[in-house]
Symmetry: C2
Subunit: 714 residues, 2 copies
């Protein structure tokens, strides 16, 4: 893969090399030297002959040997020229540190486009611009102003240099784990998140991928790559910008109900990504997932030497969805054999002083507990590691023995142990030993519990994974020519909104059960159409100039007699003229009153990050009360549609609450799939809003539909 040449570069040109110690062009070379980069360094600056003892070249093209990567430390405006120079040399990639591009407005955006175009011309791939740099810790290829980052097997991708610094500092201080690579993705002008993901997914030295993301440029490609990568290794991600994103999201019905972050979070989780919301948990989650076997059955045990800690983590793990089952009778009996009578053994296990004289009994307990086939992992909380500090020094040896034993237990049972210790900050040797055996240790109960939870979340994902890519496509392909005509016709008239009858016809063409209707041009026509329907009818204005029909007095319901229909027709037309004297009135739509049932809403829109998404939720009063809808990135599968229906809080209503008959969930699922297919088949569709759809015990009816097209290409 192309990124291999760049991220594992054997030779680096430092463009903008400098003798001034405060300049990035000096520091970059100093850092490569100090950190013992294994490749060749070429300073480039036409004004200098040498920097730090290296020969300085006027241009990249003047360098004799091959150059894999250029680190460009010069200002934004110079970069097109620098890239041309690099291009002449055949450089593979460039790391662009300068800011002043897409993030600062129109001029910057134009410069960024020029930079990307120049790079494409010369086949140079770009990291950044506006990046803090990159770091390959295997080769000591340090192109970031940050030293002594700990080496390890976590790849770090961050959209914020400060957050990268935070995570690297945390690793250095609190952990024995470290990083294989760091890339600051910057503006993602060229290389995108999903390309880095693909590379790290394949990299044998990377066991987990840690990401800080504010926004994705290519959400769909990212998800497609994540689906593949998470089957190989865990991805741990914190997405910020929820609050502002929420505000930015359009005021359309779909957008108003949920900030796009809900879409993002759901989409990430369905791709197997571990989404973290609390920044304190971000590195620990990556540390744990990179070093422990996942928990396969969502069932864990707690081992404690005192009440309070166990109670707190029992609450936390329960809230996080884990099960803390009672241990089997056999396991309990075994524990009783080695613990004092006062010990509590059901789970949580409280040793009740049983480790005071010999803390190595912790390891014996751990072995007994993890032998229990119903238990997938163990959380130890309390004072372990501190017996030697608090009570007697000799106990420290026993703690160390326990640590060695626990290391073996984890390996043998292939089940994780996570440890909370009050004495973590005192850095006792026993806790360092646990870390040596890849058993994570935290001084926070919350963090320790969360780490157990992410091991279960990843385990659950891997064990529930089915072929999630089995998409339904091109359903109702035969109907497409007629449908395209409707779209074409609207565009020809310069319209972006389909008329209600057009939208419903398009849906009907593909087999959607729309409520029947007919366009009447005169009151007489309306009366005669109404005769085809049983019971009361509804009249609705049809005009490309009137989008919100009710607001314009364009809807009348529950009409019975010919007289009523005639009067309603005339009033609707008059109201429409009053609303907009120049409105293009196509007529009045006559349809029967839909019989009552449960109202739902289905909508689709194009999300900035993920492309087409679909929304489903209960309609009517309920949608305003529950404010709970379910989102998916399109296309969806039949299983996905089923899940969407099931995961909304309103599901019990559909399922037949309080002895009422269940409604036709199958028809609803079919309609969701049909919408998914429609949006695939008609890339012209920007937004679709079926509201309401009435669901019955058998079947359903789309009562109103709105379809907005994308701006036509000029």
């Amino acid at each position: 893969m192309f990124l291999d040449r760049i991220l594992n570069a054997d030779s680096v040109a430092i463009v903008g090399a400098s003798k001034n110690e405060t300049k990035r062009g000096f520091q970059a070379i100093r850092t490569l030297l100090d950190e013992k980069y294994e490749g060749v360094i070429y300073p480039v600056n036409p004004k200098e002959k040498s920097v730090l003892g290296f020969k300085c070249y006027p241009h990249v093209a003047d360098i004799e040997g091959p150059v894999d990567v250029a680190l460009v430390a010069t200002p934004a405006a110079t970069i097109p020229a620098v890239l041309e120079d690099c291009g002449r040399k055949g450089v593979q990639g460039a790391v662009l540190l300068a800011g002043g591009f897409g993030e600062v407005g129109l001029d910057g955006r134009m410069l960024e486009e020029k930079v990307v175009a120049t790079a494409r011309q010369y086949n140079i791939r770009l990291i950044g611009p506006n990046t803090s740099g990159m770091l390959n810790l295997k080769k000591n290829l340090n192109l970031v102003g940050l030293r002594e980052a700990p080496k390890g097997n976590i790849a770090l991708l961050s959209q914020s240099g400060n957050m990268a610094l935070t995570l690297i500092t945390e690793a250095k201080i609190k952990s024995r784990k470290g990083f294989s690579y760091y890339v600051g993705v910057g503006n993602e002008a060229d290389i995108k998140f999903h390309e880095y993901l693909e590379f790290f997914g394949q990299d044998p030295d990377t066991r987990a991928i840690l990401m800080y993301v504010e926004g994705l440029r290519e959400g769909r490609k990212f998800l497609q790559q994540a689906y593949k990568t998470t089957l190989e290794k865990p991805i741990i991600l914190l997405k910020s910008g929820r609050s502002t994103t929420g505000k930015r999201s359009a005021g359309s019905h779909t957008g108003a109900l949920a900030g796009m972050s809900e879409v993002a979070k759901g989409a990430f989780q369905r791709a197997g990504i571990i989404v973290i919301e609390n920044s304190d948990e971000l590195f620990p989650a990556a540390e744990t997932l990179s070093s422990c076997p996942p928990i396969k059955n969502n069932r864990v045990a707690i081992l404690a030497d005192g009440g309070g800690h166990a109670t707190i983590v029992a609450d936390l793990l329960t809230d996080l969805g884990l099960v803390i089952p009672e241990l089997s009778a056999k396991t309990q009996a075994r524990l009783k054999q080695i613990l004092p009578a006062a010990a509590s053994v059901p789970n949580p296990v409280d040793v009740a002083g049983g480790t005071d004289a010999d803390p190595s009994i912790f390891a014996d307990c751990a072995d007994i507990i993890l032998k229990d086939p119903h238990i997938g992992g163990l959380l130890i909380v309390g004072l372990f590691g501190g017996y030697g500090i608090r009570f007697a020094e000799s106990l420290a040896w026993m703690e160390e023995e326990a640590a060695h034993m626990m290391g073996k237990i984890v390996k043998k049972r292939k089940k994780p142990i996570v440890v909370h210790s009050l004495y973590n900050s005192a850095k006792p040797h026993s806790l360092e030993l646990l870390r040596y055996y890849s058993i994570p240790v935290y001084d926070s109960l919350d963090v320790a519990a969360k780490c157990v939870a992410v091991l279960a979340e990843y385990g659950n994902y891997l064990s529930s994974y089915h072929t999630k890519t089995n998409f339904v496509l091109n359903w109702g392909a035969k109907a497409k020519p007629a449908g395209k005509k409707i779209v074409h016709n609207a565009r020809q008239e310069g319209r972006r909104a389909l008329l209600e009858n057009e939208a419903k016809r398009l849906l009907a063409l593909h087999g959607a059960p729309v409520l029947e209707d007919t366009l009447a041009r005169t009151a007489d026509e309306a009366v005669s159409i109404a005769q085809n329907f049983e019971g009361e009818v509804v009249l609705k204005i049809v005009s490309p100039d009137i989008l919100h029909k009710s607001d314009a007095g364009g809807v009348q319901v529950k009409l019975r007699s010919a007289k009523e229909i005639r009067r309603a027709f005339d009033e609707i037309i008059a109201n429409a003229r009053k609303f907009d004297a120049r409105a293009d009135i196509r007529g009045v739509l006559v349809s029967p009153m839909a019989s009552s049932g449960v109202e739902v809403i289905i909508g689709t829109k194009i999300d900035d990050q993920f492309g087409p998404v679909i929304m489903y939720g209960l309609g009517g009063i309920m949608v305003e009360i529950l404010k709970h809808v379910s989102f998916r990135v399109l296309p969806i599968t039949s299983a996905g549609a089923k899940q969407m229906i099931k995961e909304t809080k309103s599901f019990p209503i559909l399922n037949g609450i309080r002895g009422q008959a269940p409604l036709d969930k199958k028809a609803l699922r079919k309609l969701l799939l049909l919408c998914s297919d429609l949006v695939e088949s008609y890339p012209e569709i920007q937004e679709m809003d079926l509201n309401p759809v009435i669901v019955y015990e058998q079947g359903l009816r789309i009562v109103d539909a709105r379809i907005i097209l994308k701006e036509a290409a000029p």
Copy 2:
């Protein structure tokens, strides 16, 4: 207050004093010596002549001088005799370390009762038993096996010795703040949480009270005391045991909808207590609240030197309910004067490198921001404190200058600054200076944001505080004699459940709008009663032996004709006989069908910890979907009833959604108050369940009511 003599004891007897270094009776004396206790120490043990150079007394009664407190380190079984000895001496209080009481079963509970009775007899107050001890840091009165706890002005109350150890360790390592007192409340056999609270509320050296609670013995008294204390100083509390508590809670309708922890959390918050759910935030919240002015207007600013951190805390603060408003034009203009052009000044403020050459500019920015009258507090995030470490040493002096300035700004503006610093763990002098000025510093973004949020929560509480103790009492006192007769009659018959017609009559006596009904003994009577009602009627069995009427085929609805009523009467009686051949059948209740409206449920019950509580929520299908009801500890005020109605998710339905007329919220409020009053007036009531109550545009009707009495005293 009696606790003053105990917690500030000038003399301590150590009962069970020992020469064996591994015994608590040795360690206790050693600790008092090492920690330089300012009072007098008296070892007590008939088997020793001296311990650690002190004369050892055979009995407490043998001590010549006065003895304020006895620390009892002897086993559980010896304690009644020890207390008698103490009582003869006139000891004020005893700290009982031993376990083996109420927490271990029936025998222990009986021993505990005996211990309390003995203490009462001799006017001795007890801390514990089963406590880790107590600590007065002003006097170095250290009766807990824990040394070098940092001194300060936070009082710590904990039900877990391990959690106390955790919090004290955290304070020592991460903070400059410390504790005035620690009390391990143990089993609360005698002195209860609320008594400690009263003492700490009055203690001039205590500025905040930090509590770890698993369960309260006297919840109501605790709340009453907390209402008073939180007006003086903040209480910060973590309540664990949610998950198990939830399971324990009975399967009654009220209990099933929400674990009692929801009641507890709501009750605590309404008393002004800061409830913390994340144990990592517990000490920091107390530290911040004990040292910073509260935020009065819920509006804060963020100051950052880079993007990622600011984005994350903006999300966190928004989630926590704070407002991050745009700064005033004047404030923005002032910031622009001292920051580079690239800086972002609306809020969050990003200095964009403007502090690189001189980090004291942070303080200038802080001053400008806190001058803005719309801003109540400031959160600084990023690298402050690390400029001297990361860039040039000289910058450290500027950071220290900034710290001095910020100390002055907080004092002058009476608005808090909370600081997040990535370099906190490196312990730069500037950050120590901030702490010296009581400006809290954290290396966690989550913790720093939470600390800002608790300052706002406490400020909001103080500024919204009204006379919350203005309870409505004895409403409908005239009706009480007739009501008491109903209760008395049921008890005479040996019943705990009132019959439906009794329950409704009791409610009606006090002015509650119950659906009218009359008891029919024969089918003829039923027909003639039905003639008094318009429209259809309902027939319901009345029998003390049939609680669930529908299950026994005891309800028939929508009956029109005399024929229908007769048949229904006979069927109901026959079904009842079939259900229970020996059932005591009182007749059949005839009532009109209630016209349709919105169904709600009101219930009351006696909570273990808080006594009488009331529950309100939407009924019918909605209660099962929303699973959201609102709870209050009784009695409630009119404002409380209004809030209860408003805070349920279903409120929009009552308020008239989608153009429907609003329903009679005033009548609902009145009914809630009436229920509150009823439970006060009839202490015999264990549980009351009004389900359904139908609410109309005008008025409401109680359709069914169930009242269960407490077990009669023998």
